[in-house]
Symmetry: C2
Subunit: 252 residues, 2 copies
């Protein structure tokens, strides 16, 4: 496993270096149509290629654009090479690499290692199953401090007016990169991340789920059920990551 | 003026270095009560001290915590040492230094140089009156591309439900640092920044106003009037920064 963790860190570092070398003006160019009918952007393609080059046949790969690559290995890398693609394409400095590692044919419950790297700042969030969550090597905890609540909601095109009304007396953020927004729950920066529509895939949240849970938080779907999703691109979920259960009860 | 621009850059650089050296856990500590009844946080205090040390008596200073310091100089620095204080205090990686330079007793119209530095990423937005706007030294233009609109709205505690409804079919962001969000309009990343409540002060937007305008955009208040505010902390404004006039007409 240590070797795989090292490989995950190398992938994140290599994608960051590669993305920073590219001209931002090219990020948003459409280079192909993905299997799910949404266009593949140049930045997604470039980042995915970097990941595949490094991982090779040493693990199976489940990635947003390319789907599942079965290398007959014990472990699978569940990857979103660029989470927050629209931010990256527009030049909003909030997007990341997301990498989870788990035994093949597992679910979010079986992820043993998760890494989310904020590309514009270089911050690295990591978690090891049953061994805690870390930001740049320092242990982090989801916040239990509710004097100044901040909620991260996905707004616009979302129809979650009901939720918005509920939290309207608190501070709201909408940053545009699910994995990284979930990590803000893990580090205690915000109290909830809520995407009420069923559009996120396991590649988006596998790493961040472990990071939130190892930091003492929990991850649900919009119905308040603890989130558990197998390693497949066929399932789309709503996601509600919270610092503690009572925040979920407030929002669902 | 060249010497003052160099001084502004040094202030931004020194604040960035100082802030990065501090423990994030100390950022949010309240160290005093400001003149306006809102608490001064440790991070604001530290950043303001760095600015004052460098500027000394070479210019007048108008700053959020300390007010106006009249050094009988020709030029005034209009400074927000940390814009997005709550983000900084919580650990949301989106906050900045904002510095404008203009002749004393002027208004936002008379700003000759503006600088906004994103502290977590190091990105520097600058504008020189009648000479354009720049991101890390590269010329920037407000976006005229409307195929994929993104609006930055201040949500929560704001009551701007009406605006939210209007743009609900587009992508919405709420990042939490006015000066930096306005710069996203200038760089073409987003199409509007809207703070409909009258709470922002000239220290928040003096630099970003020039940056948006030099990038070809415009800055209004929530009534659709072109924004013009004197160098005083006594005036609080709504702010609507847009890539072009028709976006303002859509939102007001």
């Amino acid at each position: 496993m240590d070797e795989l963790v090292e490989m995950a860190r190398n992938v994140a570092e290599a994608i960051t270096r590669r993305v920073k070398r590219e001209a931002v003006s090219k990020f948003g160019r459409e280079v192909a149509m993905g299997a799910d009918g949404t266009p593949t952007l140049y930045i997604d393609r470039v980042a995915e290629e970097v990941a595949m080059d490094i991982i090779g046949k040493k693990a199976n790969i489940l990635s947003e654009e390319i789907g599942f690559i079965d290398n007959d290995a014990d472990y699978t890398f569940i990857i979103d090479p660029i989470d927050g693609t629209r931010n990256a394409a527009h030049g909003i400095p909030f997007y990341c690499v997301s990498i989870a590692i788990g035994k093949r044919d597992g679910s979010t419950d079986d992820v043993e290692y998760g890494l989310v790297k904020n590309i514009p700042t270089g911050d690295v969030y990591e978690a090891f199953k049953n061994k805690g969550a870390y930001l740049n090597g320092e242990k982090i905890r989801a916040s239990q401090d509710y004097s100044d609540k901040i909620f991260v909601l996905t707004l616009g095109k979302s129809g979650n007016e009901k939720t918005w009304r509920k939290v309207n007396l608190h501070t709201i953020r909408a940053m545009g990169a699910a994995a990284l927004e979930m990590c803000l729950v893990a580090s205690g920066a915000v109290h909830a991340y809520f995407m009420p529509r069923e559009i996120l895939r396991v590649t988006d949240f596998a790493a961040a789920c472990l990071i939130v849970r190892e930091a003492g938080g929990e991850v649900y779907n919009a119905d308040g059920e603890v989130l558990k999703v197998p390693y497949t691109l066929n399932v789309r979920s709503s996601v509600l990551a919270v610092s503690e259960r009572k925040i979920m009860e407030e929002l669902v």
